[in-house]
Amino acid sequence: MPAEGSTSAGVTPLPSAPGLPPAIVGSPGGPDPVTGGGLLGGDPFRRRSRLFRTERGRVVTSTVSTLAVLGGIVTAFLLAPGSRQVRSVFFNAHDMWRAFIGDPHTGFYSVGKGILLNIEMFLVAEVLILVLALVIALVRQSRSPVLFPLRMLAIAYVDFFRGVPLILVIFAIGFGLPALYLPVISYQSAVVYGVGALVIAYSAYVSEVYRAGLNSVPFSQIASARSLGLRPRTALRYVVLPQAVRTIIPPLLNDFISLQKDTALVAVLGVVIEANRAAQIFSSTVFNYSGFTVAAILFLLLTIPLARFTDHLIARDRARRLAGST
């Protein structure tokens, strides 16, 4: 017989024990409104929305909604009242070309040539940073009492250069060193000081990334290497470092993309006409920001391939890292 509170048609409440209130066992929300079945009647596990039910449906939905949002944004941009002016100030093809080529006689320099300077600085700095940061990380990881003072120095170094803003470091080195009139050191070009400052500052950050990588190598790897009778240096070089480095490729890449852009800061030393500074000079001479757009595009052309290549390296290595687990 139907119990109290029984709901829509199709529900057959379970018989309840005498003396006990009627139970609608296990269906707290009532029967499924879509299928209309009871607890195990109909298809209780079927997805509610038709749109998400099939793989194809999900793909179509996500594509359409993505296009719709992007389309909305582009439309809003193109139809905004100030759109024409913004486009001519930021995306003016003629000015972008002029900025790319440069014209010192009119008072501005080539952004295209400037980016070569960024690349040069970035490549040199990157190599030096990878080396210096590794040294710092190894010093910090060492446990021998002989290296204690160096270890303390390394900790202070990392704390200091991670704390001080990079631009101040560039100023201090780029303006301070020449003012000291030290032999050789005070007579370098601004690019040398700029790259030096980048190396000193970034090594502090990257050394921490190395440490994370070194700590991530399972201890039994080191133990295996030691038990085979390999010297610590050999174990480090052939067993630990290769694994540590493979683990930290993503954060390393992050730091290097940052580095690519931070090369722009070297321009504060004055004589370094890299891409951003060239764009800045262009914009203030011509009153047009299209130079910055060119610089941005050039930086993207640098960063994106690097990111894809790194993804490729990671994917190729992923399987090998998991040896040892059954």
């Binding site: 929305s49 038709r50 749109l51 449906g57 939905t61 359409v64 909604s65 296009l67 719709a68 949002v69 389309g71 909305g72 944004i73 439309t75 809003a76 193109l78 139809l79 905004a80 009242p81 100030g82 002016q85 913004v86 100030v89 010192p104 006689h105 009119t106 008072g107 501005f108 320099y109 303006f175 020449p178 003012a179 321009a267 504060v268 004055g270 004589v271 006409i273 500074r277 800045q280 000079i281 914009s283 203030s284 001479t285 011509v286 009153f287 047009n288 920001y289």
Partner: protein, 294 residues
């Protein structure tokens, strides 16, 4: 159900378009100051009352300049005391337009922002800005209120003070402030073999000279003189370069209507000798500065 979702997606696109179209019918900046889609009111006369609707803040003349405001264009970094060439010119223009000095309001606008697109929050910007054709595409300039000459500043006793033949001039490392025509001048007339150093502000240029990072820098003659006589005592103006025919102009938002009236005011100030008198008073242009050829 898929239709419901599609309908939502379409609605987003339609809404975006609709907002855009709706936006178009609202005049930009909602002011008659600039030429824009919804704005047709012409500026018929330059009387005090006629220009009110075309002001940024009616009842006031809003003037912008950079901070710090350098001498001898301003004094003590206080544009509002009317001293310094540009400060005085601004008040003179205001007076011709019918404003009392107390109605002139000063705001800060950095040089790099002054030419950004979009509505400005001032009536005009006075900041030693050279008028060029290219720049006039992005902003509107008044007629010139000062003809700019470029001069060369170096430290006393440095090699360039003795050796500045055209050939010798090529060998030095020069400094220039970004956004000035100095860089163009150095590259197009002097043709140095070393790329000149560029600095974001004039203060950076001065430090570079004092720290011996540059041999000399180029800037306009009044500024050069002020620096050499007052700010950096051991600096000297080596000479002026020949006439360049560059002018400083007041900077307005592109399409601003007020500029017509301002140009009339400037013409009057020129004709009546006010500009010349102010230049003599504040810029102390010495005709005894030697002219050096690049």
């Amino acid at each position: 159900m898929i239709f419901r979702r599609l309908a939502v997606a379409v609605a987003v696109v339609v809404a975006g378009t609709g907002l855009g179209l709706a936006g178009m019918s609202v005049p930009s900046g909602a002011s008659p100051r600039t030429e824009g889609p919804g704005n047709t009111a012409p500026l018929r006369s330059c009387t005090y009352s006629a220009i009110q609707p075309f002001l940024y803040s009616p009842g006031h003349l809003t003037v912008a300049t950079d901070a710090p405001a350098y001498a001898p264009w301003f004094e003590h970094n206080r544009p509002s005391d009317g001293k310094g060439y540009e400060s005085a010119v601004a008040y003179a223009v205001a007076k011709r337009l019918g404003f009392k000095p107390s109605q002139v309001k000063w705001v800060v606008e950095t040089f790099n922002a002054s030419y950004a697109p979009g509505p400005k929050h001032f009536d005009f910007d006075i900041n030693e800005i050279s008028v060029t054709k290219t720049r006039a595409k992005a902003v509107t300039f008044s007629s010139g209120y000062y003809t700019d000459e470029e001069a060369l500043v170096a430290l006393k006793g440095s090699p360039i003070t003795k050796h500045h033949t055209p050939a010798a001039l090529k060998t030095y490392v020069y400094g220039a402030e970004i956004g000035t025509t100095a860089l163009q001048y150095i590259n197009s007339r002097i043709h140095p073999i070393h790329t000149p150093a560029t600095f974001t502000t004039l203060n950076d240029v001065k430090s570079a000279l004092v720290d011996h990072r540059i041999a000399a820098f180029v800037t306009d003659t009044p500024t050069a003189q002020y620096i050499a006589t007052t700010e950096i005592k051991h600096a000297t103006v080596i000479g002026q370069f020949p006439v360049s025919n560059q002018h400083y102009g007041l900077l307005f938002q592109k399409g601003d209507r007020l500029v017509k009236c301002v140009d009339k005011a400037i013409a009057v100030l020129k004709r009546t000798g006010v500009l010349h008198r102010l230049a003599k008073k504040y810029l102390r242009v010495y005709t005894s500065i030697p002219v050096i050829k690049p």
